[in-house]
Symmetry: C2
Subunit: 458 residues, 2 copies
């Protein structure tokens, strides 16, 4: 075993292809459905808002997809990202476990999000698109997309969930430095937004609402496409650089993971780390727990249903088979804005449904407690989203302390919390609420689900 703290991968060993999990799934993925007809979506139906290159990747069953050179060129600004051994955290916990984290906070926008943002900007630019729209929760995605658009000469329009727009003023600044435009959602720029504001004048917004706005903006402008930062298959695909690098780095360190942990909103950071390990687990070559961590205030994997649902609030997007709390679900305004989404990636959902991935939920206070411990040992202040993974890591490491097991725990450090420090202020002042949703509220949101069988119409 290596005694290093930083396991660094040379640029020359960086992955040159993304890993597509679709051919390795334990069951075929059900197709997205057209919300009007209920029939499987045809590629050309997605063309008004997505470029062909990404639509192909969305439906692709090839195992490896080459990363284009211009994308690699931008990745080089921060990739390969370091795999770090959390020795100071281990010491503080007194655990025999070895804890590693794949540090995606080193990217210029501070999270894993640019892994897909750069790829998406590239494919859109290649097909002559001039402008991208998107939504953002906590702002990590909006920052990443404006950063990526700047590199490919695209305009970027970000609809930011209103509660986060107010909580995270500096993510706005960052988006503007990279040349992006930004509005709090619901806005008055779109029909969907205006309707929301009329119906719910006090709304704090949600990712689902902001998606409705961004999709409408893209669908109604010829030179404009829409870009999604999570959930979809091509997003999971691009993020696999995380896990592919981590595999090489763990090998360098002489390690095999016993536990893999990531936080889950739409699922892309989690998928990015874990997917390259899943064929090994499915074939029995790797004995590893794979844990997806979400907030108890938005428990789509642990309490939602595995059903067809819309990706947005209004019902503009295709129906996806996924774990969902219902597209009308408006989660409480917790600080981990990136985890406030009613659904989950269809790929992650399928793997949860098959028991390959184990979901787990935590309230936000214990997560911040773990995050402060991390900051006081390893140094870097984690994003509130990331703190969910750290809570699970700490619990797993403490279990090892009880049992004496010397497990290798690897987790995804999805981003830093430099723009979420008012959340820490609130935590340190004891002002954070722990939302445990009453089953009734969840049942009520689920009543509204569109009526399609799991198999869809295919």
């Amino acid at each position: 075993m290596s005694d290093l703290c930083q396991i660094v991968l040379g640029e020359k060993e960086a992955p040159q292809a993304w890993y597509n999990i679709q051919p390795d799934l334990p069951a075929p993925l059900s197709p997205p459905l057209n919300p009007a007809t209920g029939k499987p979506i045809q590629p050309q139906e997605l063309a008004p808002i997505f470029p062909k290159g990404l639509i192909e990747q969305e439906m692709c069953v090839e195992r490896w997809i080459d990363i284009p050179d211009p994308v690699l060129e931008v990745y080089r600004l921060w990739r390969p990202s370091p795999l770090r051994r959390a020795r100071q955290l281990e010491k503080a916990l007194g655990t025999p476990a070895r804890i590693y984290y794949k540090d995606e906070s080193v990217s210029p926008p501070g999270s894993h999000k640019p892994n897909t943002a750069v790829a998406q900007a590239y494919y859109n630019r290649k097909e002559g698109i001039r402008r991208l729209t998107t939504e953002t929760g906590a702002g990590q995605w909006g920052c990443a997309l404006s950063f990526a658009c700047k590199h490919f000469g695209l305009e970027c329009m970000v609809y930011m969930v209103k509660v986060s727009f107010e909580q995270k003023p500096f993510r706005k600044s960052l988006i503007r430095i990279w040349g992006g435009d930004i509005l709090p959602s619901p806005s008055d720029r779109t029909q969907a937004g205006r309707k929301m504001r009329e119906t719910y004048p006090d709304t704090r917004g949600s990712l689902g609402m902001a998606i409705s706005e961004a999709v409408e903006d893209a669908a109604t402008h010829d030179d404009t496409n829409y870009s999604l930062g999570s959930v979809l298959n091509h997003v999971m695909l691009h993020q696999t650089v995380i896990g592919l690098e981590a595999q090489k780095q763990l090998e360098l360190a002489g390690e095999t993971p016993d536990v893999l942990i990531g936080c889950v909103g739409g699922g892309s950071n989690f998928a990015g780390l874990s997917f390259p390990f899943i064929p090994l687990k499915l074939s029995g070559k790797l004995d590893c727990d794979i844990i997806a961590v979400e907030p108890t205030s938005c428990p789509s994997l642990t309490k939602g249903l595995y059903r067809y649902d819309y990706g947005d609030t209004v019902g503009l997007t295709p129906l996806l088979l996924m774990h969902t709390l219902g597209h009308g679900f408006e989660p409480p305004g917790i600080h981990a804005g990136g985890l406030r989404y009613h659904g989950g990636s269809p790929l992650v959902s399928l793997l949860v449904d098959h028991g390959v991935i184990k979901p787990r939920a935590y309230p936000q206070n214990p997560c911040f407690e773990a995050a402060v411990l991390f900051a006081n040992t390893e140094g870097t202040v984690p994003a509130p989203e990331t703190s969910h993974a750290i809570r699970a890591v700490v619990d797993e490491a403490l279990k090892c302390k009880e049992t004496g097991e010397e497990k290798c725990i690897v987790f995804g450090f999805s981003g830093h919390g430099h723009f979420d420090l008012n959340a820490y202020d609130a935590y340190l002042e004891g002002k954070l609420e722990d939302y445990e949703l009453p089953d009734e509220k969840i049942r009520c949101a689920l009543d509204d689900l569109p009526d399609y069988p799991r198999e869809g119409a295919c």
Copy 2:
């Protein structure tokens, strides 16, 4: 020449000793003087506020000083820091120059400051001190010291310049996450602070004032020492890990620097990068311009006098022979708070006086312009302090474009600007003022200098 973007140094190749420039200076360093007697300070006179280990380093003439293991153990959390090739910036400028930057923004507090904070916390803890006080300008130093104190179980009390305390709310949060305590300076906690508030009720504070408060707090509490983040010899010493690593990394890249650039407030980031190269320059083995960049609003190296002066506003500290604008000088409230200091490191000042280091000053708007260009090419948003170095880099690179010279330009990326984004908001909105100080104002502040010859009383 290497074609890499990141030149990474393995942990095993990290420097194990700091480089002390004192034996290699072109002239002996004049000693600090006791402000009461005007006689050279004796080591025991510094003992009420500094530990023996640091006092020895302050006066040491050994060339190499071993880095203690517990310090190396904390350095490993982020060191060796990467040396990066700024290829995207080169491309945007169309310059034949090759631009490298030593990226100190990867430390948990986001700057070079923990290089000395960790060492200082260690030596104080070793000698039984329980609590450290300090001042901070923009907050980089306060963050670094609270981070370091956490690792050695020390309490940390930070006096933060009032204008920065208000401009940078999130540096306060960071200090608190790492367990530090913080007050806006001038505060009512100290006699010096209370006197300032009485005399100048509208003051926005200054580093000099905050130093007076922190020194008084340390001098009046037995278990408490004072810690300074720049200016002093031992601080420059600790920072040399930057330049020592950079030398090895440049060698790996097959490069020899033609130009070395850093921003200067007290001088520690600049010294850290440049000092290890200076003996080579002095001995004629390296033909290299070494440029120190400061703001025109606080031009101590370019317009100050090389004279004995106090380090603080009130006159509590020893007299140091340095470039100074006068200890009573209160610089305008620019956003590069770390550069708002009336004096400069005696070591850097001596080398400027001997023509080894060339100082240069810029107003803040052209610096932010360069910083935004950097963010739009290399990604990371620079601290306002760092933007001064980048302005000079851009100008040097553009000169190369004119002359066709393929120079190797290396600069210190002292920190990121994640907690300075309101400065960028102000810049993008055209609200930043460029202060060019009238000579009269400088002359007036200099009138107040204590009357000692350059040679002091030694």
